[in-house]
């Protein structure tokens, strides 16, 4: 079982793009320890060379023709997907400057 401590919780939260308060770090560390302690049951199963099952159905990726379809537009002819976006500029999503 992995060693779970507050450093690990902070590292994982950073990977997941989450800010945590110190109280949250303490709480989630304790709860992750309990949950992973329980999940450790899995180490008792002899899985041998069993192929992992990532999906419940044996499905194949369906292929289709690469045909261009128009995006839905609103009553003003603007792309519908922009209508309720948090911030837009021209025909795009606006984000703050992130390159210095």
């Amino acid at each position: 079982m992995a060693e779970v401590n507050e450093t690990l919780t902070r590292k994982v939260a950073d990977l997941a793009r989450l800010y945590l308060t110190d109280e949250e770090v303490t709480l989630y560390t304790t709860q992750m320890k309990t949950t992973l302690g329980y999940v450790d049951l899995l180490s008792k199963v002899d899985v041998g060379n069993v192929e992992p099952m990532y999906h419940p159905l044996e499905i194949e990726t369906p292929m289709r023709e690469d045909v261009v379809r128009p995006s839905p537009v609103d009553e003003n002819g603007k792309p519908k997907v922009l209508k309720h976006a948090p911030e837009t500029l021209y025909d795009g999503f606006k984000v703050p400057p992130i390159i210095g």
Binding site: V12, A16, L18, L41, E51, M53, Y54, L57, P72, E87
Partner: protein, 482 residues
């Protein structure tokens, strides 16, 4: 107006005793007067417009046109993680509290094209993560009949809306039991169809290899009818099955072939922590099947003790990946401070602080399980045990046709009772999780009640794509036990 079945409402339309507009207005009034917190958004004008169109269709045909519009004039509630074009869809999260999607989920679209009316969007656990509906950013949902008790989750708003007659039927989604558990707590019918039977297009994803949309209804035949309308391949969801669909409604009404029916009773499902009242009630139900001529068969699903572990690794891993898209760039809510940011990570982190505590907990665990150095020990290992569980079911279905068990080890509990202990809450799903991991159809049908008069549900699980088999058995049980 308390109808038990959609067919009874259609009969009332035919006899001109009732119009869809009257029925819809009655439900809108009931919703307004209700204190259950089941609805997050009520679509009054839209619903009345749909009801008017339904009444026009009925007037034109002289009766409810069941063949072309099997749900004509029927008011439904929709779990708030299914998108509807132009209708606020929140997934019960602050992250999406103002999200108005530009497209409609295939499942909802098919219901509305069949004549159904959407009364509104139903409360749930945030991003469907929870078993009690206490994790909604918009407050908990009350049990339909027992004040202060949870309705179960995550489709708690759907279960209460059906149980308290705030709609004729509702849509839910089931990732580890989120339809069947609340259905059993609230004394209604809940069906999780075979994986791939109903399109997930427009379902805000929690765990893509486990999620399935399904009906929550007052009767088994209504579940079959809603399934029939929604089922089938969808080019917009490549995981829908290309297999042809069946007449689930007609099939559900067929008498089971009792003499040749073998009902499997897994020995692992009756151990540790099952309430004696639930065990007694479900065993009495099994005796009823026996009295009809079915054979009860002892079976074993030896990897059952590992299912919660497998589930929590698979579900949280897929969730951490799916929820990466909830970043406030293209939709959703931006944090007021997100204009002043140091870098892109700071931008995302500020926005994502709007997730609730259970969602953050699962994103962290999932990110951990997928992270470098831990992937093989957790995610890969869990998926290997998942295959062993599927092999357990394949072997069991050589000996039986259907598997019967309780839905949950306990009946509905009081709000707050399990909230402080996530693991305890997770263990409540032990009997429903296997059907999701293995893609099997499962349903909950009311089977009794405990000393507090809280409902008990029986679960029936079938092999993949044998949804009709469990529906016809449940239908016979529902009728025969009255």
């Amino acid at each position: 107006m308390n109808f038990h079945k959609i067919s009874e409402i259609h009969d009332a339309f035919d006899a001109k005793k009732l119009s869809s507009t009257e029925l819809t207005k009655d439900y809108l009034n009931r919703i307004k007067a209700s204190k259950h917190n089941a609805y997050l958004t009520v679509l009054e004008d839209r619903a009345l417009k749909q009801a008017k169109q339904a009444d026009e269709l009925i007037a034109k045909a002289g009766k409810a046109p069941r063949d072309t519009h099997p749900l004509v004039g029927i008011p439904l509630g929709i779990k708030d993680l299914l998108t509807m074009d132009g209708v606020r869809t929140t997934s019960a999260s602050k992250m999406l509290e103002n999200y108005i999607p530009p497209y409609t989920a295939t499942a909802v679209d098919r219901l509305e094209k069949a004549g159904a009316i959407s009364l509104g969007k139903l409360n749930m656990d945030e991003f469907a993560m929870g078993g009690s509906n206490e994790n909604s950013a918009f407050g908990p949902v009350m049990h339909p009949t027992h004040d202060g008790y949870v309705p179960g989750g995550s489709s708690g708003g759907s279960a209460t809306a059906v149980g308290a007659d705030l709609c004729v039927a509702a849509l839910g989604s089931d990732t580890g039991g989120s339809i069947r558990l609340p259905a059993s707590y609230c004394g209604i019918v809940g069906l999780k169809p075979t994986y791939g039977r109903i399109s997930r297009y427009g379902l805000i994803a929690f765990s893509s290899s486990l999620d399935q949309i399904g009906p929550m209804t007052k009767s088994v035949e209504d579940s079959a009818l809603l399934l029939q309308v929604m089922a089938g391949h969808d080019p917009l969801d490549s995981t829908t099955s290309p297999k042809p669909t069946e007449s689930f409604y007609a099939e559900s009404k067929k008498e089971p072939d009792w003499k040749n029916l073998r009902i499997g009773v897994p020995k692992e499902y009756w151990v540790q922590g099952i309430s004696p009242e639930i065990e007694k009630s479900v065993r009495e139900g099994l005796k009823w099947f026996e009295s009809k001529g079915a054979k009860l068969v002892d079976i074993s699903l030896p990897h059952t003790p590992y299912c919660v572990s497998v589930y929590y690794i698979v579900a949280v891993s897929e969730a951490s990946s799916n929820l990466a898209r909830i970043d406030g760039v293209r939709f959703g809510v931006r944090h007021p401070d997100s204009k002043q940011v140091e870098d892109i990570a700071d931008f995302y982190k500020k926005i994502r602080s709007n997730f609730g505590p259970e969602v953050k907990r699962r994103i962290i665990l999932g990110t951990f399980a997928l992270s470098s150095g831990y992937y093989d020990a957790y995610f890969r290992k869990a998926c290997q045990v998942r295959r062993l569980m599927k092999q357990d079911f394949d072997a069991a279905f050589q000996k039986c046709d259907v598997i019967a068990s309780p839905v949950s080890p306990s009946t509905a509990f009081k709000i707050g009772e399990k909230a402080a202990d996530p693991l305890k809450m997770y263990l409540n799903d032990i009997l429903t999780i296997p059907a999701n991991l293995c893609g099997l159809p499962g349903l909950s049908v009311p089977c009794g009640s405990d000393a507090k008069n809280l409902p008990i549900g029986m679960q029936l699980v079938g092999p993949q794509f044998q949804d009709s088999r469990i529906l016809s058995l449940a239908n016979a049980f529902e009728k025969g036990r009255k």
